[in-house]
Amino acid sequence: MAFTFAAFCYMLALLLTAALIFFAIWHIIAFDGLKTDYKNPIDQCNTLNPLVLPEYLIHVFFCVMFLCAAEWLTLGLNMPLLAYHVWRYMSRPVMSGPGLYDPTTIMNADILAYCQKEGWCKLAFYLLSFFYYLYGMIYVLVGS
């Protein structure tokens, strides 16, 4: 039982995923607020947009860590989300600031529903990966 770099990566990922779960929940709540008329879309987009890049960067960060640790399976599992993030950011509306959400289109029922669904899917993914990392960490710790 040794504390390897891979184990460190998993522990880090575990922590960061917890943060990502928080991000996802935050998004879901925010979009729900929009849907039920609680919030002004401009304010809501202003609070959400700064969170988008950090979320993506955190994810990229531990993907790179896994790459360095040569945890191929874990990396492979994360690739789809990574690709999705890249695509999502590339196809964002014309905006001068960072972020994805445009207050003028966010109230469109389709876009709102999409964003909400995206939030739920990500939440599920992060939750699953949280437990996977936990498992991975123990596995690495025990195995080495």
Binding site: T36, D37, Y38, K39, P41, I42, T104
Partner: protein
């Protein structure tokens, strides 16, 4: 929340309350308070602060999961009422003493007012109501300021009223009275079930049964759970069965008949029903009796009120009926038939309820015969055979060549009863793509037609009832305004037609200002007209109403001077300065810009305008804060001086740059304290400072058939600025007068999101393009003098179950059903896509209400309310029969434009073609049983392929024909903002032959005779060399003169000796004194009357170069890159058979 709710609901308390009233003393008391609180309640409705309530509304359907708290409160109340009502019925029922007996706990309470009752119940009600605000606050309703507590106060009174109804003791003589109130109560819930129910005798007991059924749980601990279903779910399920049994359209009609007949007979024959006649008196009687009671605080005023109404109400039923029928949009009384047949309730779980039910609904049937008949009739109407048959007549498109009607197409009429039809909103203002609303999303999907609304809410109206009253009567749950389609359960209560909540009729509403009589709430103008305007009180204001503020931002760069618009613009402004809407507070200001920004100090004390130049365009500031926007009245001379001098001031300018972005920022800063209108005149691509743009158009790609690029904005600068403006109630209107590419796609954003309007004059030049100059002048004149509304919001409410999917137009969407419009003008239209979230099976009518709250130019806060009512159908064929092809086309155009911006143009075009293919194939496979080959469409949709083909050939959506990017983008903007009639004229112009017009079939107006030539298909086939043809394209008329046209026509109408001598750029028709000329001019003037912007006229000679612009509108002909109509049909057919 749940705990308190519980208690209050805990219907048992409420119950006892109820029973007390039975004692007879209670009602007055309760009534009294109602009257009192009423005003306060209303005042509490915040300026759209109201919204919180509305907001709560959507939650209801979604129900429990996401926001249980909000919705529940109301729900519970409802349910509570419900129970009370039903309860009372039983009590009241003379025949059923047992029922009475069943209520033992309450019974004792029947002693007057018993100690506990009056005080306690209100409290209970209150407790929850006070909490209500809490959940709402978060919405941070933009317009804030609602005082919940007060409004809730009203709330509680209501319950008492309900209670009060059965004032009479169990005593036999009073009995009729009892029935009166109870009936409405039951129908309240009955409402949820559609009027179709009637046929099914079993259904009724069922209906009654279900809610009752829930009743016991209501008392029990599970209240919250039980209640909400009682309200929403339960009915649906019942409905399902009902529908199953009563589907066919024909059945409906028969139902209607059967229902109404029995009704009448009932009234006259059965003794129990006699009570009906007496039913009205109760309120009066009540109040009087109550007055005597010590408890009632304000008996007198109330009494008098009632007294007024009393005589009226005691009129025999037939009269009653006549009077009351019209206003009742919903009658659910459909239950009657069941009643008569009197089958035992079949679903009832417990025997005890049985007895309950029967008695209950006996009363039900009695109260408002008129209402029930009406509703039954309504239900029946949903399948009106003749009209439908015509609308559904299968048309083989490939064979029938003359599809166009002789006169321009009218909007299809919804199949409603005559009363409702009469009250319904004008199709010019409010139109739905499907005049028969499908009852579920599944049915809508099957029809493959878009569901949506087209609105022209601020249209200039010749007749508009304006209502000034202290209390604007609105539903307490969904905040809908009272309208012709609500139902009055009795004199004191009305049921909202959108959310079905039962509300009190405030005392003030009992007085009818028109007839000056009391007791006729259903005759008030609000209830007689579906388009009304209210003068709003200060509750509808966030701040004092703003004055009219106009800021003109003028481009004075070299390019602008060269184009020469400044002269015309200033001239027109000068001429119309006094005609601009406003009052003594009206303020104006001017900003000009090239590479720097110039402000004009127009302070009244100055002898001449003082120009202040700001050259720091990276960080714009306002040089002086007062006197840049000046009172028009006080500084009129200076303003005039400035306008006279302006064109000359920049005559020699060599500055070619344009700092548009900074100028707009300056305008924003200048206007933000007040809000108002910014009119921006721009002649070139902005080249300096923030928001500078590059040319993105590749002229070689203009006629490409591949994707068109750059339809979206290049930067979000203008969008952000527009959002800022919108937040400060500033609307920006853009006039783009440019001869080169100016990236309208980016610039338009500034108007799009600030609810402005966009005008574009391609290749504008004051010398070289006189037609454009003329158009600009006329447009500007209309623009300056048209009505304007400031700081506006528009909310669209619809019947529970329908929801808004997407909005189209110029505005900012602030929440799911609220549009923020910094300015609203009478020329802009809106489109709304709808979706059906919950089945509408339990209602027979769907209603839509658009409420536009704005500040008039005179500083009055006003609310314009439009309400549209449409039948709900369950048959696919009915959906097709009610399709409004023009509205569908417009909505599709809007959707296609969204698609082409978000995805690609070719995608949008494909989607349009698919819309035709899908709907026609769906029709073929499901509705028409004809197995014949060919392309079959229902008559209601026979023009659909033609219109879609025309759409595909529009500048906005065409490919393969050389189209400038700016013109394309402008055409897109037009589609999104123009009202339906205008869009249709653009899409499918009207072509008339005018050289041989006669007075046959002419329209005789007061001062002239307008000939009505027939519409012709848009194909060169219809043009003959011997004729003269007029094409009406909305903003432009083309008069095409054939080569061999009758010499006399040319001489008499155009004043030219022959065809060859007609000048090439003729743009108006001389006023000649002969019948031919007079006829044509009368016709043109008549066409012009129907639109607000004046259209220009082009005389096109057969051989002239102007021919191409004329021929591009002949959409049925093949062009270089597009199908002819016949080819298009073949293509569609091929797609269908695939």
């Amino acid at each position: 929340m749940s705990a308190p709710r519980f208690t209050n609901l805990n219907t048992s308390v409420g119950y006892s309350l109820n029973s007390t009233p039975n004692g007879g003393s209670a009602p007055p008391y309760q009534n009294g308070p109602v009257g009192q609180t009423y005003t306060s309640t209303h005042s509490s409705t915040g300026y759209y602060g109201v919204s919180p309530h509305e907001q709560s509304y959507p939650a209801v359907p979604g129900n429990c999961a996401p926001a249980p708290r909000k919705s529940h409160i109301t729900n519970n109340d409802h349910s509570a009422y419900y129970h009370h009502n039903s309860y009372q019925q039983t009590i009241g029922a003379p025949t059923v003493p047992s029922g009475y007996g069943e209520t033992p706990p309450h019974h004792p309470a029947s002693q007057p007012y018993g100690v506990p009752a009056p005080a306690a119940p209100p409290n209970h009600q209150h407790a929850p109501s006070f909490q209500q605000p809490a959940p709402y606050t978060p919405p941070g309703a933009y317009y804030g300021q609602r005082q919940y507590p007060t409004s809730q106060v009203q709330h509680h009174p209501q319950q008492p009223t309900l209670v009060s109804a059965p004032p009479v003791g169990p005593g036999a003589p009073m009995y009729p009275i009892v029935s009166y109130p109870s009936a409405p109560g039951s129908s309240q819930y009955g409402t949820l079930r559609s009027s179709r129910a009637p046929t099914d005798s079993g259904a009724i007991p069922n209906l009654m049964g279900a809610p009752l059924h829930q009743y016991p749980p209501g008392n029990g601990p599970t209240e919250s759970a039980a209640v909400s279903p009682g309200y929403s779910v339960a009915p649906t399920s019942q409905q399902a069965t009902v529908n199953g049994q009563v589907n066919a359209g024909t059945v409906y009609t028969s139902v209607a008949v059967s229902v109404s007949l029995p009704n009448q007979s009932d009234e006259k024959s059965s003794s129990s029903q006699v009570s009906l006649h007496c039913s009205d008196p109760p309120p009066g009687g009540d109040s009087s009796s109550t007055t005597t009671d010590s408890v009632s605080p304000v008996p007198n005023s109330y009494d008098s009120l009632e007294g007024g109404s009393y005589p009226e109400s005691s009129v025999p039923p037939s009269v009653d009926e006549a009077k009351q029928a019209p206003p009742f949009g919903y009658g659910y009384p459909s239950m009657q038939p069941a009643y008569q047949q009197g089958p035992p309730p079949r679903t009832d779980s417990s025997p005890s309820h049985c007895g309950y039910n029967q008695t209950g609904y006996q009363h039900l049937s009695q109260p408002f015969p008129s209402m029930s008949q009406l509703s039954a009739a309504l239900g029946g109407l949903s399948g009106v055979p003749e009209l439908e048959v015509e609308a559904l007549r299968p048309v083989n498109l490939l064979q029938e060549r003359n599809l166009l009607p002789l006169r321009p197409l009218e909007a299809p009429e919804p199949h409603l009863s005559a009363d409702l039809k009469k009250a319904n909103c004008s199709p010019n203002t409010f139109r739905c793509t499907l005049t028969n609303i499908p009852q579920s999303q599944a049915l809508l999907n099957k029809a493959r037609l878009p569901l949506g609304l087209l609105l022209h809410p601020f249209r200039d109206l010749s007749q508009l009832p304006v209502i000034t009253s202290n209390t604007i009567v609105r539903c307490r749950s969904c905040r809908a305004y009272i309208n012709p389609f609500v139902s009055f359960l009795d004199q004191r209560r009305w049921k909202c037609n959108l959310c079905y909540r039962v509300n009190d009729v405030p005392d003030e509403f009992m007085y009818n200002p028109v007839t000056r009589s009391y007791g006729e709430p259903h005759k008030r103008p609000e209830v007689q007209n579906s388009t009304v305007e209210f003068i709003a009180s200060s509750d509808y204001m966030l701040r004092p109403p703003q004055p009219a503020v106009y800021l003109f931002v003028l481009d004075v760069s070299h390019n602008a001077v060269e184009a020469g618009y400044l002269q015309v613009c200033c001239q027109t402004l000068l001429e119309n300065l006094d005609r601009m809407p406003g009052d003594t507070r009206t303020r104006v200001g001017f900003v000009t810009f090239d590479s720097t920004i110039h402000f004009y100090n127009l302070h009244e004390s100055l002898s001449q305008p003082q120009m202040l130049v700001v050259s720091d365009i990276d960080d714009v500031f306002i040089p002086t804060h007062d006197s840049l926007l000046v009172n028009l009245k006080e500084s009129k001379e200076l303003v005039r001086g400035l306008l006279t001098a302006l064109p000359g001031m920049f005559f020699q300018t060599r500055e070619t740059h344009s700092a548009l972005g900074p100028a707009l920022q300056a305008a924003y800063k200048l206007m933000s304290p007040t809000g108002g209108r910014v009119s921006l005149f721009q002649t070139q691509l902005p080249t300096l400072g923030h928001g500078l743009l590059q040319s993105r158009e590749d002229p070689n790609q203009r006629s490409t058939t591949k994707g068109v690029q750059h339809l979206g904005p290049a930067t979000d600068f203008y969008k952000k600025l527009a959002l800022d403006c919108s937040g400060q109630q500033i609307g920006v209107d853009l006039f783009l007068l440019s001869s080169q590419y100016s990236d309208l796609a980016s610039l338009a954003c500034v108007s799009k999101y600030s609810a402005g309007s966009i005008f574009y004059y391609p290749s504008f030049h004051h010398v070289r393009n006189p037609a454009q100059l003329d158009k600009f002048r006329k447009d500007l004149e209309r623009y300056l003098t048209r009505k304007i509304g400031f700081e506006a919001v528009m909310r669209i409410r619809c019947t529970k179950g329908l929801s808004i999917h997407t909005f189209h137009g110029n505005f900012f969407v602030r929440s799911t059903d609220l549009l923020s419009l910094a300015n609203v003008n009478p020329d802009s239209g809106f489109a709304v896509q709808m979706s059906i979230e919950e089945s509408l099976a339990d209602t027979s009518l769907a209603c839509f209400q658009a409420a536009l709250l704005y500040t008039s130019s005179k500083g009055k806060r006003r609310i314009r309310v439009h309400t549209l009512c449409l039948p709900v159908v369950s048959q696919l064929s009915d959906v097709y029969a009610g399709a409004d092809v023009q509205a569908i086309t417009c909505l599709l155009a809007n959707m296609a434009i969204d698609r082409s911006i978000s995805s690609s143009l070719s995608d949008a075009r494909d989607a349009l073609v698919n819309a035709v293919v899908d709907s026609l194939s769906a029709y073929k496979s499901t509705v028409s049983n004809l197995q014949q080959s060919g392309l079959i469409a229902p008559a209601s949709l026979c023009l659909f392929p033609l219109y879609v083909l025309a759409l595909l050939k529009q500048k906005a959506l065409r490919t393969g024909t050389s189209t400038r990017l700016d013109e394309r983008v402008f055409a897109m903007c037009e589609f999104k903002t123009q009202p339906l009639q205008q869009v249709m004229r653009m899409v499918h112009p009207n072509l008339y032959r005018v050289d041989a017009m006669s007075d046959q079939g002419a329209l005789h107006l007061s001062d002239c005779v307008v000939p009505q030539p027939h519409l012709l298909h848009l194909t060169a086939e219809k043009l003959t060399r011997e004729g003269a043809f007029l094409m009406d394209c909305g903003s432009v008329f083309y008069l095409w003169i054939g080569k061999c046209c009758n010499q006399m026509f040319i001489r008499e109408v155009l004043g030219c000796p022959n065809h060859a001598s007609i000048p090439p750029n003729m743009t108006h028709i001389p006023e000649l004194e002969n019948p031919q000329s007079e006829r044509l001019r009368a016709f043109l003037a008549w066409l012009q009357d129907s639109r607000t912007f004046s259209s220009t006229l082009h005389v096109v000679k057969d051989d002239a170069s102007g021919k191409t612009s004329f021929f591009q509108y002949l959409v049925e002909d093949r062009s270089e890159s597009a199908f002819s109509y016949y080819e298009f049909l073949l293509h569609v057919q091929q797609q269908i058979s695939k």
